[in-house]
Symmetry: C2
Subunit: 356 residues, 2 copies
């Protein structure tokens, strides 16, 4: 083993107390469909709010999407532009945020290969997130692609390649971050270095918006999502058709607020909390019709979505420019990942032609 390869410089001098401006966020999405209100509430809003304070990398996880879409790469290709438009529309600013495509940062694949050796197969297969997602996708034991089983390790590569301190995730993704932390510790211990940085999971307040059908999760494939690019008409129609309290049959009946998606959305978007409290109390004691509540939600939501949609349409006029933004971001991301890889290879003593 060699002497400690220090990375203090990268981390701004002191390893234990980096200032907030030097902290790094990695986040991203699988480009398998347009983004929706669930993404907006769960992560996009937070990214916009934090992008000036943190160095932010936003990854379009096309390679990860391929782990369970290997036979449908066109879906991924088409959604690269759609997702980028969503990013720009909500206010993710390329001046502050590096937007990049995962598969083009080939250092991530290389890093994954090294990490695969540091985690036992039993350990990945026990990962609760992977187990849940295997179940969700209806894979039988025989049919899970190897890449799908390995994707938490690949995700650890994504996070650590950028030395991210903070990874904003839903609570269901916490085991993934725990695995990344384990890999960081194993790597630094095995190669007697401090090259890799331990990430922390950043949980947002409202981690998950229910679907318009009251289902547990908003998802395009379940058909219960309001997309960020939906027109006024479509948003109105979707709100009109929303699930509410099934026992709230007549206006005068008392209604339930908990588990009622209309109120969940109002909680997420209505800035007038006092007025919302009054509305909830009225709904609970009866006398407030779903139509009235939905009208309020429509107003609130369109106020939020109208400027987003306007910006989206503006950016959509010049797709080549959007692709240039991604291409530029990908270059920046590659440079950052290449620097980490250089340190990784040095620590592993496989930098055959570069050291000494």
């Amino acid at each position: 083993m060699t002497s400690k390869a220090t990375t203090a410089k990268q981390q701004g001098g002191s390893k234990d107390s980096p200032t907030k401006t030097q902290q790094i966020i990695l986040t991203g999405d699988r480009p398998t469909g347009p983004l929706h209100l669930g993404h907006y509430v769960g992560s996009l809003r937070q990214r916009v709010a934090l992008q000036k304070e943190y160095k932010t990398f936003v990854m379009m996880a096309d390679a990860q999407a391929l782990t369970d879409n290997a036979n449908n790469p066109d879906k991924i290709r088409q959604n690269i532009l759609e997702v980028a438009l969503d990013y720009l529309a909500v206010g993710i600013d390329p001046k502050h945020t590096t937007i990049f495509i995962q598969s083009l940062v080939t250092e991530l694949a290389e890093l994954t290969m090294y990490y695969l050796n540091l985690v036992t197969i039993a350990r990945v297969q026990r990962n609760p997130t992977v187990k849940d997602e295997i179940k969700q996708r209806g894979y039988s034991g025989e049919s899970v692609p190897t890449g799908f089983v390995c994707y938490p390790i690949s995700q650890a590569a994504d996070i650590t390649a950028f030395k991210a301190n903070l990874v904003p995730v839903g609570s269901d993704q916490v085991p993934m971050i725990e695995l990344a932390v384990e890999i960081v510790r194993t790597f630094n211990r095995t190669y007697n270095c401090d090259v890799l940085v331990e990430p922390k999971a950043g949980l947002s307040d409202i981690t998950r918006l229910p679907g318009t059908d009251g289902g547990g999760k908003m998802s395009k494939s379940l058909g219960n999502a309001i997309s960020l690019g939906d027109s006024t008409d479509v948003v109105q129609k979707k709100i009109k058709g929303m699930y509410t309290d099934p026992n709230h049959l007549r206006v005068e009946d008392p209604g339930t607020v908990e588990g009622n998606p209309v109120f969940a959305y109002l909680d997420a978007f209505d800035k007038d909390k006092k007025e919302l409290q009054t509305l909830k109390e009225h709904y609970r004691r009866g006398g407030l019709g779903d139509t009235v509540v939905k009208k309020r939600l429509t107003e609130v939501l369109l106020a939020e979505l109208d400027p987003i949609r306007a910006r989206r349409e503006e950016f959509a006029k010049d797709p080549a420019q959007v692709m240039r933004i991604i291409e530029e971001g990908t270059k920046v991301a590659r440079a950052a990942a290449a620097q980490t890889l250089k340190e990784v290879r040095q620590a592993m003593r496989i930098d055959y032609f570069e050291s000494r």
Copy 2:
């Protein structure tokens, strides 16, 4: 799905009957120790004989060696030079053969990531070669590194990145080639192309030399190997100590030739087959001492090893030059793999900035 991405050009016009000179061999070794007579008989001799006829890539599989040596990268680093010296000593000629380091061809990692999605985890775990090797290494179900389970997929990436037609392997490795063929077919079918080329296993006549202890396999770690760099003294001592027929106690006793490693080595190295036949008959009927047979083996073996050792010592005088040979070979290998990756990404429709 897009139109067929043809690779006819790479294959020299006709896909079905490429001429022999255009055929490509991929072979290699894990750089975990100096090479020995087992490697020489099993593959090195064949590589030298074929290198003018085939386009040959010889890979130092450091990344593969890391799959079960993650905590000992120094062993790999040190053996890169040793193995390269062995290659040059036996007559592998950089003019005809591309010698390269696996981990530096990062396209191989990238390709592995895509192939991981095309093979189920059940399929890799059922691979007989992997199962055997897991047993050999004494891994329990809990302790197998994920990278070790995945290495047949990584090997398929190595083979196909160079569009190898022929992969010289021992019979125990045939299931690995079968998996590579499966991946080629799945890829070409899934992405409606003929980018990848199906490899064939090339089995050599004498696939495996027994150890000097009569053990089933010559292996440095078992201490029963004669290394290509061993001095005359060491070779003489190792032959003197070789296992023969344990029932051949006195010179006049009849002896057994089968399973007697001294005769196995003579079979592999003695060019005078008639003389060898006479020797065997004499040994069988009794009256021929082990000392005489071992003397013959020493002569035969030193005649083969002396020039190899001399060349090895010559090359060892200038290690920087050897490293330059590897560096140059690695550049050539990267260019070949990068071309395949370009076609792969195009077929997969993830060449976002290059097509259209």
